[in-house]
Symmetry: C2
Subunit: 257 residues, 2 copies
């Protein structure tokens, strides 16, 4: 089923602007997977016919989704659905820079372990799965310039990643979100992070090679899909002696006004 076979009804008299209706219809196509990551979407002329509006209105709708990051426009080529990739990963979800710099460099990732276990109460609640159901728990070690600073613990529902094995995970040739996207048809669109300072326990101190009770930055990240279904719970334990968690907010505004 191609998107050009669908019919869309834009209500000219609705109180929501036509461009927003079109933006929402396109968004739903992304959500319903009628437009897949990396795919070329119909050109502007086709969209004009599909939605029966003028080209300016189509451009406003597509422009909105582009600003939101769901679409990528390329002059002379076409407009594409965003996809997770090494090139797009870079600054999107990795926030660390060496002391005194602002440069967020690509981390070295080293696999530690992959296991199946029962979800804790918190994990089950967060992932919105039955209490005690199976989850995969994966540990990674991340570093910069050959020095390890971060332990990543990933928890995902087994039910949502049915055929995932340690081999598949380890042998991926791209980012983890790219693996979710390409092998499991799960597309992470937004993340929320909560940071605390904690003391290193025995496990963390040995993994990060720091003293017991050293101050550690703990990041709980929740990765969600288009409609805020929580897919991944990722906890990072960071030794911040040599690196900083960097958060730059340009301009005058936060989330909303």
């Amino acid at each position: 089923m191609s998107i050009t076979d669908l019919t869309f009804n834009i209500d000219k008299d609705s109180k929501t602007p036509m461009w927003l209706q079109i933006r929402n219809e396109l968004f739903n196509c992304l959500y319903r997977d009628e437009l897949r990551p990396g795919q070329l979407i119909p050109n502007e002329k086709t969209l004009v016919e599909l939605f029966n509006v003028s080209i300016g209105t189509v451009r406003k709708a597509v422009g909105a989704l582009e600003k939101e990051g769901f679409l990528i426009r390329k002059q002379g080529l076409g407009t594409f659905v965003f996809q997770h990739d090494k090139s797009t990963f870079h600054f999107a979800y990795f926030h660390f820079a060496l002391n005194g710099t602002e440069d967020v460099t690509y981390p070295d990732v080293e696999f530690i372990s992959f296991e199946t276990k029962k979800a804790t109460k918190y994990e089950a609640e967060t992932l919105n799965i039955p209490s005690g159901s199976n989850v995969y728990q994966i540990f990674n070690k991340l570093g910069i310039n050959k020095k390890n600073y971060i332990i990543d613990r990933i928890v995902i529902s087994q039910a949502k990643f049915p055929m995932l094995t340690e081999e598949i995970f380890k042998n991926r040739t791209n980012t983890i979100y790219n693996l979710y996207q390409n092998k499991f048809n799960i597309f992470i669109t937004n993340c929320s992070e909560k940071l605390k300072a904690i003391s290193a326990d025995k496990t963390i101190s040995s993994l990060l090679n720091v003293k017991l009770d050293s101050p550690i930055l703990r990041i709980e990240r929740i990765g969600q899909t288009y409609h805020n279904e929580t897919i991944e719970l990722r906890t990072s334990f960071v030794h911040t002696r040599d690196i900083d968690y960097v958060n730059t907010q340009n301009s005058t505004f936060g989330d909303t006004f």
Copy 2:
């Protein structure tokens, strides 16, 4: 000197689009203070005459500055220059939420101390002032629901805030950035934060009422103006037992692609 008295030259043959040229001209008016915080800018028709372009081009330029947060459009009223205010502060620069919630509430602010001192080497470098020159150092205590969780230490150049006194600072009726804006004509437009986990020293532990060596989240925030002149160095020491530093990134992207 009103902006309507100025003449602007938009080069129709330039490789930079006309809308961007207009956006930049308007931005420079903000930067040069020809358009001041809170001020109503000329209406679209006037801008059309001023720049000698069509209304669509003007709207694209203004729209860009609106997205960047420098301008606020109000239908039926006009377009205004953004200003720092209690209402705009709320989510912009305060990132903390009580455990288990996502709600970033307005903090209680309690004044601790105000003093003049010589800048340390790091402070002088960061603020780009001569080593050893005078700075104000201000301590505040921030809390939520009557419980204090955060110690804020503000360092600003005395030279840039010539007549600032403890009284003026304490008696402000709005946010600190509003004080900078209205009394000192200094407008903070962007912030960059660097976070680390550290151990509470004697001072911090007593101020935050925690044990010595408790894990503390330290945030170094740099506040800058339109053209990235660093104005303020603010260090927050946060007891994160009951609160989280929250960082939500909607959509798929970080700073850039």
